[in-house]
Structures are given as structure tokens and as C-alpha cells.
């Protein structure tokens, strides 16, 4: 046998190689594929892991939003968000730069200490982001008030961060600041983290600002209700400071300023009439309400109800509701005023009667017949005035006690009106007042007490003249104008007396027909007259089954209107 040649050897190797190559190729290919699969699997695993943490993070979102929804202070919400990010995202620090009333605030939340360098670098990053957001290209350092929570400045502390995510803090179009989180190693490379931080922060800010808006609105509503109450309301906080006082309470207690008072100062203001300090302390301790009736404070009789304000059985303050008990007192005062006014009205004609009679007696030798006539006429007129007042008093007393009666008979109301206007014409002419009569056609004969209806007309006309008269008239436009009219309606006649006088304020209008109120609160209290005219007019009109009221005249003055039924 021949020795195998080298060629054979090569050939054999070649054969072997030829056989192995595909296998190797297959092996290598397999290896590669496996590695790729492993990688994919690893990736899937990582994705799953991040997905789980992502889900976990988002799962905790409702918690923070629930907290935030209770806050109206943006700063507090941002603090909460910073703390939240520290717990849920792998970061070294969260911070925010916020515009406040007198500059900027920079707050850093950390877990542990940081170096000054870290703090400064983070602040620069936040400032730079803020400036970029607002479009400020200057390099000027934003001066801030700086605070660190969760740790402090220490040179052995954390000295650097890796990666930053900054988000503008906005209220609609307004940029309020920047919020930043600073990473550890490469923790912030994941785009989901940025998404997470952005979404949460947006929700936190909008929830806070929206809640604040709602709260401010609600607060305003509540305040409006509180301020418009007829009851006085006070609230003392647990430190015995007056934390709330509405306008009525201010008026009752005679406190005019908005200073923050404590209970002993309030006690001093009310003086001896009510031991406020003792009561508030007692209610705060005992948690039992306490009421006091008819306490005389500042010229009023007031009743006080002190109530403990409890939250979860904990006293968080003492409230007081103050009611004005003075209605009776007020009525008594009104009666007194009315009496004083009536006395005044009786004294005036009596003074004239007495004085005029005395003059005639004393000076009869010196007096001409004209002088005597003047004074005798004064006596007669004043006696007539006295009689009118006495009759008015009697009428109003009858109306008040429900004993006022009218005797209805056929009455040509149009003729009555014309005649009355005729009587007044001379009087109004002398006072530069135009008196106009405006009666509908075909006015029916109605059933009415003629004398009493004339009394109503007289009362309305004399008032109109009294308030329309302007003294010396210099321009035609200044002339007084009284328009008296009659309108025929389906079942009634409507009669009105309109003047162009000063008009009547709305709050007085309602009280105008009230006996005592009118006497006291009339805007023209310096005018003479008992003010009973309208009370009696109302009594007469109502006794006829009609109505009487007052409206504003256009463009100025008042219109008194009353109706009388046909029957």
C-alpha cells in the first residue's frame, strides 16, 4: 500500500471540513439566534419590569391627587408632588422655582444631605429652564429665597446629579415657575419617567388651581350670605382670636375696623354688659352651647347664642350668632317719637293762637283793622289746623283698631276730581306749580264715600305740593308740575297724583303708609305734618276695597296711585 500522500491528507481534511462547515454554520447561526432571543427576552423582561413599575407608579397617582385636591396653596401642592416623586421615581432630588409676590422661591426636596454645589447647580438648572420658558435671554441670576426639605446642606452629602427633567409650572398662559427632578446615574433616560412626571405635575397644578378657584368662588358666596345676614355672626378660633365677624356683628358690637381681635379685646369693647371672654372659654371647654337673652349692648337689646364648632368631636372654635331683640324696643321708640312729633304739631298752632290773641289784646290801640284781621285770621286758621290734626289722630286710631267705616253712595268721581283740582289751582299757582288734570272719557258713577275720597285726594295733593314747591323759581324748567289723572279700568277707577319733586327712596316707599315708621324715618323729617295723611289715605282706600301704592315718576318725582272699585 502506498503511503498516504499529503494531498490525501489535505483531501481528507477538506472532506471533514466540508462535512463540518454546514454544521458549524448551523451551530453559529443557532448561537446567534439564541443570543438574539435571549436579548429579546431580556428586553421583554425589562419592559415588563418597567411596565410593572410604571403601573405601580400610576396606581399611586389617585393618592397624590386626592391629597392635592384638598390643597388650595400651590406651594403646598408642589411640596407634596416633590415628596411624591422622591418616593416613586428613582431621582436624587426634586425642586421648584416659583414666582411669589415679592420675588422667587426655590425649594429643594431631597432624601438626605446635599452639597452646596449640588444645590446651586440644581437652582441654575431650574432658573435656566424658567428663563427659557418665559423667553428671557438674559444671564442674570434670578434672586431667590431658598429652602431645603428632607435634608440639609452638607459637604459630605450628595454632590452631583445625572440628568434633569424640568417642566414649566403654568396657570393657563401664565408661567409661574419651573419644576425639576434630578436623576441618579441614568435613571431619567427612560422617556416614560418624563411622561409620568409631566402628567402628574400637570394634574397637581391644575387640580390645585381649579380647586382654589372653586374654593374662592364658594368662599365669596358664603361671605356674601354671611355679610347680608340680619343676624350677627362671630367665630373665635381655638387661640381665642376673632377669626370671623360679619357686618351685622360689627354694627351690633360697635366694632368698625377689620383688625384681628382676641376675645379679651372684644370683651373690653362690649364692656360690662356681657362677659364674652368667660362665656367663650366656657363653651370652648365644655363643648356645650350657651344662650343669653336681652343683653343691652351699644343701645340695643341683643340675644347671643354661643356654639362650640366641632370637627370629629374636637372643638375647633366657638361661634356666636347675635340676634337683634330690639324690635319691641324699636316700636316703643317709634311710639315715643310719634308722640313727640304729634306734640310738636299741636304746639305750633297753639303757639300761634296764644301769641296772636295776646297781640290783639295788648296792642289793640296801636293796631289797624288790617292788623286785627291778620291776627284773627291766624287764630282761625291755626284752630282749623288743630282740628285737622285731632281728626287725623282720631281717624288713624280708628284705622288701627279696625273701626274705620266708610258710607258708600253714588259718587260722580270725575266731578269730585275736577272740583278738587279747581280748589287747589289758586294755591298751586301761587307756588309756581302747574296743576294738570287728565280724566278718561265716560267715567262711570261709582259707589264711594265722597267726603272720604276727597280726604284722600287732599292728602295726596297737599303732599305733592309740599314736595314740589321749590321756593323762588328762576327758570321755567324749575317749575313744579303736578298731574292728576283718572283711568277707567274693567272693575275699578284708577286715580293718580304725579309730581316732579325729589322722589322717594326705595327703602322709604315700603314704609310710607306705616304710622310710626313714616313719622320717624321720613327723608324730609324736617317737614311739618304728622305724616298721618298717607296712613289715613290707605285706611280710606282699603275700606273701599281698593289699593294704594307709590311708584317713581318719569323722569323724576313720585306717583301715588289708588284704585276704587265701581261698587
Amino acid at each position: 500500500m502506498n503511503e498516504p500522500s499529503a494531498l490525501d491528507a489535505y483531501f481528507n481534511i477538506g472532506i471533514v471540513l466540508l462535512c463540518f462547515f454546514p454544521a458549524a454554520l448551523i451551530f453559529i447561526k443557532y448561537k446567534l439566534k439564541t443570543a438574539r432571543l435571549v436579548k429579546v427576552l431580556r428586553e421583554k423582561e425589562a419592559a415588563l419590569e418597567s411596565g410593572v413599575s410604571y403601573v405601580k407608579k400610576w396606581q399611586s397617582v389617585p393618592e397624590i391627587l386626592t391629597h392635592v385636591s384638598m390643597l388650595t396653596d400651590l406651594q403646598e401642592s408642589l411640596d407634596l408632588a416633590a415628596g411624591y416623586f422622591l418616593r416613586t421615581v428613582d431621582i436624587s432630588c426634586a425642586s421648584y422655582l416659583l414666582k411669589i409676590s415679592n420675588g422667587y422661591l426655590y425649594r429643594v426636596a431631597v432624601l438626605g444631605n446635599i452639597t452646596r454645589g449640588f444645590a446651586d447647580k440644581s437652582r441654575h438648572a431650574a432658573s435656566a429652564h424658567y428663563r427659557e420658558t418665559i423667553g428671557d435671554t438674559s444671564d442674570e441670576e434670578i434672586l431667590t429665597e431658598q429652602a431645603i426639605t428632607g435634608g440639609g446642606l452638607d459637604e459630605t452629602g450628595l454632590s452631583d446629579f445625572f440628568g434633569t427633567i424640568c417642566i414649566p409650572i403654568r396657570n393657563k398662559d401664565q408661567v409661574l415657575g419651573s419644576f425639576c427632578v434630578f436623576g441618579t446615574s441614568d435613571s431619567l433616560k427612560n422617556p416614560e419617567t418624563k411622561l409620568f412626571v409631566t402628567r402628574i405635575l400637570d394634574s397637581v397644578i391644575s387640580a390645585t388651581l381649579e380647586f382654589k378657584q372653586v374654593l374662592v368662588k364658594e368662599h365669596k358666596k358664603l361671605d356674601a350670605v354671611l355679610q347680608s345676614m340680619d343676624e350677627g355672626v362671630l367665630l373665635f378660633d381655638p387661640d381665642y382670636r376673632l377669626s370671623l365677624m360679619n357686618r351685622t356683628a360689627q354694627m351690633f358690637l360697635g366694632i368698625s375696623d377689620q383688625r384681628s381681635y382676641n376675645v379679651s379685646q372684644v370683651s373690653d369693647i362690649i364692656k360690662g354688659s356681657l362677659p364674652v371672654q368667660e362665656i367663650v372659654t366656657g363653651v370652648m371647654d365644655s363643648k356645650e352651647p350657651k344662650s343669653l337673652q336681652r343683653v343691652f349692648v351699644n343701645g340695643r337689646y341683643l340675644s347671643f347664642m354661643f356654639l362650640p364648632v366641632l370637627i370629629n368631636r374636637e372643638t375647633v372654635g366657638v361661634g356666636a350668632v347675635i340676634h337683634n331683640d330690639s324690635e319691641e324696643e324699636k316700636l316703643r321708640n317709634l311710639r315715643e317719637d310719634f308722640t313727640a312729633m304729634v306734640v310738636h304739631e299741636l304746639r305750633a298752632p297753639l303757639t300761634v293762637i296764644r301769641g296772636s290773641a295776646d297781640m290783639v289784646l295788648k296792642h289793640k290801640e296801636k293796631f289797624s283793622p288790617q292788623d286785627v284781621e291778620l291776627f284773627m285770621n291766624q287764630i282761625k286758621d291755626s284752630a282749623w289746623d288743630l282740628l285737622k290734626i285731632v281728626n287725623d289722630l282720631l281717624d288713624s286710631a280708628k284705622i288701627e283698631s279696625g273701626k274705620f267705616e266708610v258710607v258708600k253712595e253714588d259718587c260722580n268721581i270725575a266731578a269730585v276730581l275736577s272740583q278738587e283740582i279747581g280748589n287747589y289751582k289758586m294755591f298751586t299757582d301761587s307756588k309756581n306749580i302747574d296743576l294738570i288734570l287728565d280724566i278718561d272719557d265716560s267715567v262711570p258713577i261709582i259707589r264711594a264715600d265722597r267726603e272720604k275720597v276727597i280726604q284722600v285726594l287732599n292728602n295726596l295733593l297737599s303732599n305733592a305740593v309740599k314736595f314740589t314747591y321749590k321756593g323762588e323759581i328762576t327758570h321755567m324748567a324749575d317749575r313744579g308740575l303736578i298731574r292728576v289723572g283718572l283711568r277707567v279700568q274693567p272693575k275699578t277707577v284708577q286715580i293718580f297724583v304725579a309730581d316732579n319733586g325729589p322722589g322717594i327712596p326705595n327703602e322709604i316707599k315700603k314704609q310710607l303708609f306705616n304710622k310710626f315708621i313714616q313719622a320717624r324715618e321720613s327723608p324730609i323729617s324736617n317737614e311739618s305734618g304728622t305724616g298721618l295723611g298717607l296712613v289715613i289715605a290707605k285706611g280710606i282706600v282699603e275700606a273701599h276695597g281698593g289699593k294704594i301704592w307709590v311708584e317713581d315718576n318719569v323722569p323724576k318725582g313720585s306717583v301715588f296711585i289708588f284704585t276704587l272699585p265701581f261698587k
Binding site: 305750633a348 303757639t351 300761634v352 296764644r354 295776646d358 295788648k362 291755626s382 317737614e527
Partner: protein, 133 residues
């Protein structure tokens, strides 16, 4: 020369009484029924004394008194307040604001009023002297 009296009073019957009485007693008398004109009349007429009603239409005599006492031209004219509305508050206010006296109209006759005017004019340099009413 006749002493001049300015009467600020809207009740014509009362004014007739006071003016006839005072004219008989030798005074010169001017009436203003409108409170708004009291001040200008006090300056133009330059009376020796003013009788001032408290209840004037649309105006309180006490305000006119304050105005009179606040003006150098009228500050020295003695003022007697007239009223039928007895309120101690008003009396006090009037005297504090420089009224020389305060008269309840119903209590005095016109002849007594002229006596009081003469007393006030005779003692008008001494505002502390009051006349019992």
C-alpha cells in the same frame, strides 16, 4: 339807630307775630323762610341778632348755626334758637355751637320774646349769660 333782627322762620303766622311785635318795640325786621338763604341774608343784612328756627324745610337750623359761627363775618352775631320740639340734645348742641339762647316757642308770648332779645343784645358780649326760659 334801629337794631336789626333777622328771623329765619318758615311758619308765616309765627313770623307775623314776631315781626309785628318787634317792629312795635322799635326793631328793624327781616324774614327768611328758606334756610338756604339764611347765610347770605345774614351777611347782606348784617343784623344785630338772629332768631333761628331749628326745623326748617329740608334743613336743620343747627347746621345754619354752625355755618354762622364758622364765618368771620357772622361769628359775632348772637343767635337765639327757636323750636317747639323739646329735645335736650338739641338744646345742648345749640348752646355748644355758640347759640346765645334757646327758646321753646310755645312757652313764650311775642312780648316776652322781645324782652329776651333786649337782654341778649345788652349782654351779647358775654356769651355765658343765659336767660331762663
Amino acid at each position: 339807630m334801629k337794631k336789626k333782627v333777622l328771623i329765619v322762620e318758615d311758619d308765616m303766622a309765627l313770623f307775623n307775630m314776631y315781626s309785628v311785635e318787634l317792629k312795635i318795640k322799635g326793631f328793624d325786621v327781616l324774614n327768611v323762610s328758606d334756610g338756604l338763604q339764611a347765610m347770605s341774608k345774614a351777611k347782606d343784612y348784617a343784623p344785630d341778632i338772629i332768631l333761628l328756627d331749628i326745623m326748617l324745610p329740608g334743613m336743620n337750623g343747627l347746621n345754619i348755626l354752625t355755618e354762622l359761627k364758622g364765618d368771620s363775618q357772622t361769628v359775632d352775631i348772637p343767635v337765639i334758637m327757636l323750636t317747639n320740639y323739646g329735645s335736650e340734645d338739641n338744646v345742648k348742641k345749640a348752646l355748644e355751637n355758640g347759640a346765645a339762647d334757646y327758646i321753646m316757642k310755645y312757652k313764650i308770648l311775642p312780648s316776652e320774646l322781645s324782652d329776651k332779645i333786649e337782654v341778649v343784645l345788652g349782654t351779647s358780649n358775654d356769651s355765658d349769660v343765659r336767660i331762663a326760659v
